[in-house]
Protein backbone atom coordinates (compact mmCIF):
# COMPACT_ATOMS: atom_id res chain seq x y z
CA UNK A 1 0.00 0.00 0.00
CA UNK A 2 2.79 2.27 0.82
CA UNK A 3 4.30 1.49 -2.62
CA UNK A 4 1.12 2.79 -4.17
CA UNK A 5 1.48 6.00 -2.16
CA UNK A 6 -1.64 5.34 0.00
CA UNK A 7 -1.39 6.15 3.67
CA UNK A 8 -3.65 3.78 5.51
CA UNK A 9 -4.00 6.04 8.55
CA UNK A 10 -4.84 8.98 6.46
CA UNK A 11 -7.36 6.92 4.50
CA UNK A 12 -9.06 5.75 7.68
CA UNK A 13 -9.10 9.28 9.03
CA UNK A 14 -10.60 10.52 5.79
CA UNK A 15 -13.21 7.76 5.85
CA UNK A 16 -14.11 8.64 9.42
CA UNK A 17 -14.16 12.28 8.45
CA UNK A 18 -16.41 11.54 5.49
CA UNK A 19 -18.70 9.43 7.68
CA UNK A 20 -18.98 12.23 10.21
CA UNK A 21 -19.61 14.74 7.48
CA UNK A 22 -22.26 12.46 5.92
CA UNK A 23 -23.96 11.97 9.28
CA UNK A 24 -23.94 15.68 10.20
CA UNK A 25 -25.03 16.70 6.68
CA UNK A 26 -27.90 14.20 6.64
CA UNK A 27 -29.00 15.06 10.16
CA UNK A 28 -28.90 18.84 10.08
CA UNK A 29 -29.00 19.98 6.43
CA UNK A 30 -30.49 17.41 4.05
CA UNK A 31 -33.31 16.28 6.42
CA UNK A 32 -34.85 19.72 7.05
CA UNK A 33 -34.33 20.71 3.42
CA UNK A 34 -36.17 17.62 2.15
CA UNK A 35 -38.87 18.18 4.77
CA UNK A 36 -39.35 21.79 3.60
CA UNK A 37 -39.41 20.65 -0.02
CA UNK A 38 -42.00 17.99 0.78
CA UNK A 39 -44.13 20.51 2.65
CA UNK A 40 -44.00 22.91 -0.29
CA UNK A 41 -44.82 20.06 -2.63
CA UNK A 42 -47.78 19.13 -0.44
CA UNK A 43 -48.96 22.74 -0.30
CA UNK A 44 -48.73 22.90 -4.10
CA UNK A 45 -50.73 19.70 -4.36
CA UNK A 46 -53.34 21.09 -1.91
CA UNK A 47 -53.61 24.37 -3.83
CA UNK A 48 -53.99 22.43 -7.05
CA UNK A 49 -56.65 20.27 -5.43
CA UNK A 50 -58.48 23.34 -4.12
CA UNK A 51 -58.34 24.95 -7.56
CA UNK A 52 -59.66 21.75 -9.09
CA UNK A 53 -62.42 21.60 -6.48
CA UNK A 54 -63.33 25.22 -7.11
CA UNK A 55 -63.41 24.59 -10.85
CA UNK A 56 -65.53 21.53 -10.28
CA UNK A 57 -67.88 23.48 -8.02
CA UNK A 58 -68.06 26.22 -10.63
CA UNK A 59 -68.95 23.69 -13.24
CA UNK A 60 -71.53 22.12 -10.93
CA UNK A 61 -73.00 25.53 -10.14
CA UNK A 62 -73.11 26.47 -13.80
CA UNK A 63 -74.81 23.19 -14.56
CA UNK A 64 -77.26 23.69 -11.70
CA UNK A 65 -77.95 27.25 -12.89
CA UNK A 66 -78.53 26.02 -16.42
CA UNK A 67 -80.81 23.25 -15.14
CA UNK A 68 -82.69 25.74 -12.97
CA UNK A 69 -83.02 28.13 -15.92
CA UNK A 70 -84.23 25.31 -18.13
CA UNK A 71 -86.68 24.26 -15.46
CA UNK A 72 -87.96 27.82 -15.04
CA UNK A 73 -88.25 28.16 -18.82
CA UNK A 74 -90.06 24.85 -19.02
CA UNK A 75 -92.40 25.75 -16.16
CA UNK A 76 -93.07 29.16 -17.72
CA UNK A 77 -93.82 27.54 -21.06
CA UNK A 78 -96.13 25.05 -19.36
CA UNK A 79 -97.90 27.82 -17.45
CA UNK A 80 -98.27 29.90 -20.62
CA UNK A 81 -99.56 26.85 -22.46
CA UNK A 82 -102.06 26.16 -19.68
CA UNK A 83 -103.16 29.81 -19.63
CA UNK A 84 -103.49 29.81 -23.44
CA UNK A 85 -105.45 26.58 -23.29
CA UNK A 86 -107.72 27.96 -20.56
CA UNK A 87 -108.20 31.17 -22.56
CA UNK A 88 -108.95 29.15 -25.65
CA UNK A 89 -111.47 27.04 -23.74
CA UNK A 90 -113.06 30.19 -22.31
CA UNK A 91 -113.18 31.69 -25.80
CA UNK A 92 -114.83 28.56 -27.17
CA UNK A 93 -117.33 28.53 -24.30
CA UNK A 94 -118.11 32.22 -24.77
CA UNK A 95 -118.51 31.71 -28.51
CA UNK A 96 -120.77 28.73 -27.94
CA UNK A 97 -122.82 30.69 -25.42
CA UNK A 98 -123.03 33.68 -27.77
CA UNK A 99 -124.06 31.39 -30.62
CA UNK A 100 -126.72 29.78 -28.44
CA UNK A 101 -128.00 33.17 -27.31
CA UNK A 102 -128.06 34.54 -30.85
CA UNK A 103 -129.80 31.37 -32.01
CA UNK A 104 -132.37 31.81 -29.29
CA UNK A 105 -132.89 35.47 -30.23
CA UNK A 106 -133.28 34.54 -33.90
CA UNK A 107 -135.69 31.76 -32.96
CA UNK A 108 -137.77 34.10 -30.80
CA UNK A 109 -137.77 36.77 -33.49
CA UNK A 110 -138.78 34.23 -36.14
CA UNK A 111 -141.56 32.98 -33.92
CA UNK A 112 -142.76 36.52 -33.27
CA UNK A 113 -142.62 37.35 -36.98
CA UNK A 114 -144.50 34.16 -37.77
CA UNK A 115 -147.14 34.97 -35.15
CA UNK A 116 -147.48 38.53 -36.43
CA UNK A 117 -147.70 37.29 -40.01
CA UNK A 118 -150.33 34.77 -38.99
CA UNK A 119 -152.24 37.46 -37.09
CA UNK A 120 -152.09 39.84 -40.07
CA UNK A 121 -153.17 37.08 -42.43
CA UNK A 122 -156.07 36.26 -40.13
CA UNK A 123 -157.00 39.93 -39.87
CA UNK A 124 -156.76 40.27 -43.64
CA UNK A 125 -158.97 37.23 -44.23
CA UNK A 126 -161.47 38.48 -41.67
CA UNK A 127 -161.58 41.87 -43.36
CA UNK A 128 -162.00 40.27 -46.78
CA UNK A 129 -164.82 38.08 -45.45
CA UNK A 130 -166.45 41.03 -43.72
CA UNK A 131 -166.23 43.26 -46.81
CA UNK A 132 -167.40 40.46 -49.12
CA UNK A 133 -170.42 39.66 -46.97
CA UNK A 134 -171.20 43.37 -46.58
CA UNK A 135 -170.99 43.82 -50.36
CA UNK A 136 -173.29 40.83 -50.93
CA UNK A 137 -175.70 42.17 -48.29
CA UNK A 138 -175.83 45.59 -49.96
CA UNK A 139 -176.18 44.07 -53.40
CA UNK A 140 -179.04 41.85 -52.26
CA UNK A 141 -180.77 44.78 -50.52
CA UNK A 142 -180.49 46.88 -53.68
CA UNK A 143 -181.35 44.32 -56.33
CA UNK A 144 -183.63 41.76 -54.66
CA UNK A 145 -187.15 42.47 -55.91
CA UNK A 146 -190.33 41.27 -54.20
CA UNK A 147 -190.68 38.48 -56.77
CA UNK A 148 -187.18 37.31 -56.03
CA UNK A 149 -187.94 37.42 -52.31
CA UNK A 150 -191.07 35.34 -52.94
CA UNK A 151 -188.93 32.84 -54.84
CA UNK A 152 -186.55 32.72 -51.88
CA UNK A 153 -189.46 31.99 -49.52
CA UNK A 154 -190.79 29.31 -51.85
CA UNK A 155 -187.36 27.71 -51.99
CA UNK A 156 -187.05 27.83 -48.20
CA UNK A 157 -190.46 26.22 -47.73
CA UNK A 158 -189.66 23.54 -50.31
CA UNK A 159 -186.43 22.79 -48.44
CA UNK A 160 -188.35 22.56 -45.15
CA UNK A 161 -190.90 20.21 -46.75
CA UNK A 162 -188.10 17.97 -48.01
CA UNK A 163 -186.61 17.73 -44.53
Amino acid sequence: MENLGIDIKLLIAQLINFGLFFFIFKKFVAGPFVSVMQQEKKKDADRKQILEDVAKQKETLALQEKTAKDEIHKKTEESLKAVRHAAEMEKVLLLKKAQEESGEIVKRASKQIEEERHQMEKQYKENVAKVSVLAVEHALKDFLTEDMQKQVNTKLLSNLENK
Partner: protein
Protein backbone atom coordinates in the same frame (compact mmCIF):
# COMPACT_ATOMS: atom_id res chain seq x y z
CA UNK B 1 -189.92 42.57 1.70
CA UNK B 2 -193.08 40.58 2.27
CA UNK B 3 -195.90 40.79 -0.25
CA UNK B 4 -199.55 40.45 0.54
CA UNK B 5 -200.51 36.87 -0.54
CA UNK B 6 -203.48 38.21 -2.52
CA UNK B 7 -201.32 40.71 -4.39
CA UNK B 8 -198.74 37.99 -4.97
CA UNK B 9 -201.41 35.70 -6.41
CA UNK B 10 -202.75 38.40 -8.71
CA UNK B 11 -199.25 39.24 -9.95
CA UNK B 12 -198.60 35.59 -10.64
CA UNK B 13 -201.87 35.32 -12.60
CA UNK B 14 -201.13 38.48 -14.60
CA UNK B 15 -197.63 37.25 -15.53
CA UNK B 16 -198.98 33.85 -16.50
CA UNK B 17 -201.67 35.41 -18.69
CA UNK B 18 -199.03 37.62 -20.28
CA UNK B 19 -196.81 34.62 -20.93
CA UNK B 20 -199.68 32.60 -22.43
CA UNK B 21 -200.64 35.55 -24.64
CA UNK B 22 -197.02 35.91 -25.77
CA UNK B 23 -196.82 32.20 -26.46
CA UNK B 24 -200.03 32.22 -28.43
CA UNK B 25 -198.94 35.16 -30.58
CA UNK B 26 -196.56 34.15 -33.36
CA UNK B 27 -194.80 36.86 -35.34
CA UNK B 28 -193.60 36.12 -38.84
CA UNK B 29 -191.09 38.77 -39.87
CA UNK B 30 -190.39 39.08 -43.60
CA UNK B 31 -188.78 41.53 -46.01
CA UNK B 32 -192.10 42.18 -47.77
CA UNK B 33 -195.76 41.85 -46.77
CA UNK B 34 -196.76 38.16 -46.87
CA UNK B 35 -200.13 37.02 -48.24
CA UNK B 36 -202.43 34.85 -46.09
CA UNK B 37 -201.61 31.90 -48.33
CA UNK B 38 -197.87 32.37 -47.81
CA UNK B 39 -198.39 32.67 -44.05
CA UNK B 40 -200.43 29.48 -44.02
CA UNK B 41 -197.73 27.65 -45.98
CA UNK B 42 -195.10 28.82 -43.55
CA UNK B 43 -197.06 27.92 -40.42
CA UNK B 44 -198.02 24.54 -41.91
CA UNK B 45 -194.32 23.66 -41.64
CA UNK B 46 -194.43 24.33 -37.89
CA UNK B 47 -197.38 22.38 -36.41
CA UNK B 48 -196.65 23.66 -32.89
CA UNK B 49 -198.00 27.07 -33.99
CA UNK B 50 -201.14 25.73 -35.73
CA UNK B 51 -203.45 27.09 -33.03
CA UNK B 52 -201.60 30.36 -32.43
CA UNK B 53 -202.45 33.82 -33.62
CA UNK B 54 -200.23 34.73 -36.54
CA UNK B 55 -199.01 38.27 -37.15
CA UNK B 56 -196.89 39.41 -40.10
CA UNK B 57 -194.31 42.12 -39.55
CA UNK B 58 -192.24 43.66 -42.36
CA UNK B 59 -188.53 44.36 -41.83
CA UNK B 60 -186.56 45.07 -45.07
CA UNK B 61 -183.30 44.69 -43.19
CA UNK B 62 -183.64 40.90 -43.15
CA UNK B 63 -183.16 41.07 -47.00
CA UNK B 64 -185.11 37.88 -47.72
CA UNK B 65 -186.58 34.76 -46.12
CA UNK B 66 -188.43 35.03 -42.80
CA UNK B 67 -188.11 34.88 -39.03
CA UNK B 68 -190.65 33.21 -36.75
CA UNK B 69 -190.84 34.65 -33.23
CA UNK B 70 -192.89 33.08 -30.47
CA UNK B 71 -192.20 34.18 -26.91
CA UNK B 72 -188.52 33.62 -26.37
CA UNK B 73 -188.28 31.21 -29.31
CA UNK B 74 -186.77 32.48 -32.54
CA UNK B 75 -186.55 30.56 -35.83
CA UNK B 76 -184.41 32.64 -38.15
CA UNK B 77 -184.53 31.63 -41.83
CA UNK B 78 -183.65 35.07 -43.18
CA UNK B 79 -180.98 35.86 -45.78
CA UNK B 80 -179.39 38.25 -43.28
CA UNK B 81 -178.92 35.35 -40.88
CA UNK B 82 -177.63 33.15 -43.71
CA UNK B 83 -175.05 35.81 -44.55
CA UNK B 84 -174.20 36.17 -40.89
CA UNK B 85 -173.60 32.41 -40.65
CA UNK B 86 -171.50 32.52 -43.82
CA UNK B 87 -169.39 35.30 -42.35
CA UNK B 88 -168.95 33.27 -39.16
CA UNK B 89 -167.87 30.24 -41.20
CA UNK B 90 -165.36 32.35 -43.10
CA UNK B 91 -163.93 33.66 -39.82
CA UNK B 92 -163.72 30.19 -38.35
CA UNK B 93 -162.05 28.77 -41.46
CA UNK B 94 -159.02 30.97 -40.60
Amino acid sequence: MRLDPQVKERLKKTFNDELVAQKELVKVISAYHLSQEELKKIISQFPQYATSTIENKVDPLIIGGFIIQSGSQNIDLSLRNALHLLKKQLYESN
